[in-house]
């Protein structure tokens, strides 16, 4: 009888313990992906990012409302809406990488060991910083671009080999993109820790010329 009572209490404790352990793991699992677990510093970064995006949306809504009024007036006066369509065409040409483009931005020279995954991460970071057009050496990066390593330690962009030293050029706000790349703990700082024998030089440019996307990459 005493032995039965002991076994039952052991079983109850073990069961409770099991439930608690699982609950602990499950709660970690859920918390790890909710904003609840983020530090105030991370949350501030998330808010700044959302805020920037919303401002971009507001600016574009403002521009489109103006275009809409112009287009309605043009059509009403029988002039057609060619100029608005041309403004749109210019934007889409840049956005689809269909046209060679010019503008201010930054250049990153990479001299030493580097690889395709790092290059892909760098492009991702430049896009996040608002880069409008990107080229690696003379190869334009497009909406469907991909990066692979080659046997001779070069990198291929859309199947085209680009060899080091690499120059990555990005058109966008020189100040914003420069700071995004070079800030403490930013991607260039991380690269400098990983690729210790590689030199990274970032500079602002007043005018960059970037070619259009190669015809096979469209």
């Amino acid at each position: 009888m005493r032995r039965d009572a002991g076994a039952i209490s052991t079983a109850v404790v073990a069961l409770f313990l099991g439930v608690l352990a699982v609950t602990q793991f499950r709660s970690q699992d859920v918390y790890s992906r909710s904003l609840q677990l983020e530090t105030p510093a991370s949350l501030t970064t998330v808010i700044a990012n959302l805020s920037d995006r919303n401002n971009e949306l507001r600016n574009e809504i403002f521009d489109l409302r103006r275009d809409l009024v112009n287009a309605q007036e043009s059509v009403a006066s029988g002039r057609g809406s060619l100029s608005d369509a041309e403004r749109q065409l210019r934007q889409f040409k840049v956005f689809s990488a269909d046209s060679a483009v010019a503008g201010p931005g930054i250049s990153i020279r990479i001299d030493g060991d580097f690889d395709e995954r790092a290059l892909s991460d760098l492009v991702n970071e430049l896009r996040n910083a608002g880069a409008e057009a990107i080229a690696i050496n003379d190869v334009r990066v497009g909406p469907r671009s991909y990066f692979v390593g080659t046997l001779d330690r070069a990198v291929a962009v859309d199947g085209r080999a680009v060899r080091g030293p690499w120059t990555v050029r990005a058109i966008g706000s020189p100040e914003v993109v420069y700071v995004a790349m070079t800030r403490t703990g930013g991607i260039i700082g991380q690269f400098e820790l990983i690729y210790r024998n590689t030199r990274f030089a970032v500079s602002k440019d007043t005018t960059l010329n970037i070619p259009e996307l190669a015809s096979g990459s469209r």
């Binding site: 677990l37 998330v46 990012n49 919303n54 971009e56 809409l68 889409f92 995954r117 909406p143």
Partner: protein
């Protein structure tokens, strides 16, 4: 009656059997309590208002995207009607339509593959494996790179269309795609040639890190054929402020 030596040993064994779970139980309760206390102290002071602000901005973003889509639709309608008036306007409109589609602003439907990526749901993972058992922003960029390499035509991550300005951004453990907050599971819808896409994802040289973490830590990663996949058009801002096309805008290239 004085208990015999054997009976005393049995009672001692029973006590020891209960001792270990009791200690562990106490430990877990205290860890749980400490975690809660720490979390609530921080969250009450800073996190709660910051989370509210982030959620409010995310909600606002959805409204702004809807407004932008409506404006684009109305402008497109006006230009489409006007383009019937002259040959030049018609050509210009055709060019705008072509570029809009190539830029990813129009929805697409077709056959392809769907890639599922999720945090491991294995409760028995050791703490040191947690990092390897959850999906990271770099996993998504690697999957996108492999899909484009396999000949993808159009891609969306949890209904966010991937375009030339798209980035996968990670802050702490929060992931943002096109500036939109996301959490696992991720569903990457890829329209394109199915066999070539499956070949790219099956290539042992590709995504070796993700595949290893799937096999060892139980990371969720699955690629399946799918028919009639729907990929929405990009609804974010184009945000072209600095780049100017070098060739003059003409109706024909």
């Amino acid at each position: 009656m004085i208990p015999s030596g054997a009976a005393r040993r049995t009672r001692l064994q029973h006590s020891l059997v209960l001792l270990l779970p009791a200690v562990l139980f106490g430990l877990l309760v205290s860890v749980q309590w400490r975690t809660q206390t720490f979390r609530s102290e921080l969250s009450v002071r800073y996190n709660a208002p910051l989370i509210d602000a982030a959620n409010a901005l995310q909600k606002e973003q959805a409204t702004l995207k809807t407004q932008l889509a409506e404006l684009r639709g109305r402008l497109d309608e006006i230009q489409r009607n006007a383009s019937t008036q002259s040959g030049a306007a018609r050509e210009l409109q055709a060019r705008v339509d072509d570029l809009r589609e190539r830029a990813g602003l129009t929805p697409r439907a077709g056959d392809g593959v769907v890639v599922q990526l999720d945090d491991a749901r294995n409760a028995s993972l050791a703490a040191r494996d947690i990092e390897k058992s959850i999906c990271h922003a770099t996993d998504l960029t690697d999957i996108l790179n492999t899909a484009w390499r396999g000949g993808a035509d159009a891609i969306a991550v949890n209904d966010e269309r991937i375009v030339s300005s798209s980035s996968v951004y990670c802050v702490g453990s929060t992931i943002m795609v096109n500036g939109t907050l996301m959490s696992p599971p991720f569903s990457v819808a890829v329209i394109g040639p199915q066999n070539a896409l499956l070949g790219a994802f099956d290539d042992p040289q590709q995504l070796s890190d993700i595949k290893q973490r799937r096999d060892v830590q139980g990371l969720g990663f699955r690629v399946t054929r799918a028919t009639q996949i729907h990929v929405p058009g990009y609804t974010g801002a184009l945000n072209i402020r600095y780049a100017e096309p070098r060739s003059l805008p003409t109706a024909t290239r």
